[in-house]
Symmetry: C2
Subunit: 250 residues, 2 copies
């Protein structure tokens, strides 16, 4: 019906020689680790290891026993909870630079599962090592606390969305916050409101508490009214003002 198939340039896959060139430097957990290593108390650098996992693979499951703390280097991942009836709730989309779970600093058994959406590279740090270094420097511990506060605030927002907002509003908010997070990482392509968008509609549905069918109908409506363009795994917000109005933001 619509979906004009125009080939546009795509962001090249980011090479990953190390955190030094991480897109997320400056405001994420990744950055804190870099600082830890620069000011290493002993000469020994923080123990770490780079891992890769293919799209759609599980990185770890709830109740696994982990002795490491992962941080996303490239790609998109997701933290989610599976219910006994097979349904799933997505708690958070993980972007490059994000710590996967701060809870893992203190507790080896996560209560949530992590899945790769795209191909993902991530680094793992020894839990005890990382934790002790973080807490040995008071300013780093407080920076960690700030990130933590941030993640709690995001969770609270999602609670409000799911408890008190209608479906179009929820979807609009999700799209906007994702674009904003990528903007702050300089990961837009083309214009400032255009991004690589690897999510399937079932990801959106599981994140905002709807069914894939209903998400499809809402996105079609957004497209039909010219608010967004979404095809070939690329999302462009054509009319940010109208989308923000739908989302009751700003």
């Amino acid at each position: 019906m619509n979906a004009v198939a125009v080939a546009r340039p795509r962001a090249a896959p980011v090479p990953h020689p190390g955190c030094g060139v991480c897109v997320a430097r400056g405001f994420t957990f990744c950055d804190m680790v870099a600082e830890l290593n620069k000011t290493a108390p002993r000469g020994r650098p923080l123990a770490q290891e780079v891992r890769k996992v293919a799209a759609r693979r599980t990185i770890f499951r709830a109740h696994d026993d982990l002795d490491y703390v992962p941080i996303i280097c490239s790609g998109w991942a997701v933290t989610s909870v599976m219910l006994s009836d097979g349904s799933r709730q997505i708690l958070h989309f993980l972007l490059p630079g994000d710590i996967v779970l701060s809870a893992l600093l203190f507790e080896p058994k996560p209560t949530v599962s992590i899945e790769a959406i795209t191909d993902v590279t991530y680094r793992v740090f020894n839990r005890v090592d990382l934790r002790e270094r973080l807490f040995s420097k008071a300013d780093l511990a407080e920076k960690l606390a700030v990130l933590w506060t941030e993640s709690k605030r995001r969770a609270d927002e999602l609670i409000v969305d799911l408890g008190r907002r209608g479906a179009p509003e929820r979807v609009a908010r999700l799209l906007l916050t994702l674009v904003e997070r990528l903007q702050s990482r300089d990961m837009t392509i083309g214009g400032p409101f255009e991004i690589d968008f690897p999510l399937r509609q079932h990801h959106i549905a599981d994140a905002v508490g709807l069914t894939p069918v209903h998400v499809s109908k809402l996105l079609s409506e957004f497209r039909r009214t010219g608010i967004i363009r979404l095809s070939e795994r690329t999302l462009a917000i054509l009319d940010p003002d109208r989308l923000r109005a739908l989302a009751k933001l700003r």
Copy 2:
């Protein structure tokens, strides 16, 4: 129709000579503060002040500027978010011993409002003072982090409830978790599944993302089938197994 008016003994209002007799000693934030004072690095005790607020009064609003961190001593309170259309989402019920918002340790502007449900007494601590003492002792900072992890886990559970569970399930889970939290504080009355229950149905509705009307119908159903007794601000879970089944717990 039901509501058999039997007068039963009520828990006496707890006197509050200080944290030394706090019902929440041993596992809450309140307890951490007590420990801070015991092992005070200098002779000077942590600056604090006791305050009281009447039922249904606002303790503070989102975006207020606070230079203190409050902890509940007695009574029930609630953290919530108001939306522009007048609807409200409750994020958490605060019970004695709970820190009101750990975020306040780092950020003077809360993003949520706090309201007293019953008459409430709470203590306030100077933010900078409390934070510095917590982070000067690594073991305390880590204890704080554990409490923090706990509060994030609770938020994630609520996200799952609101996103993926039906109305009866949500209400059942709320009742069960409240009773459990009071059990762990030895605040049950009569039997182990009977508590003082000051919540109005609109509190329940705002917490689980439903309307008061629908909550009323669900509670009536729970009563009709003999799962709970709820009258005169007292809740008794008569059939914990059936309620847990409804809640898909355990």
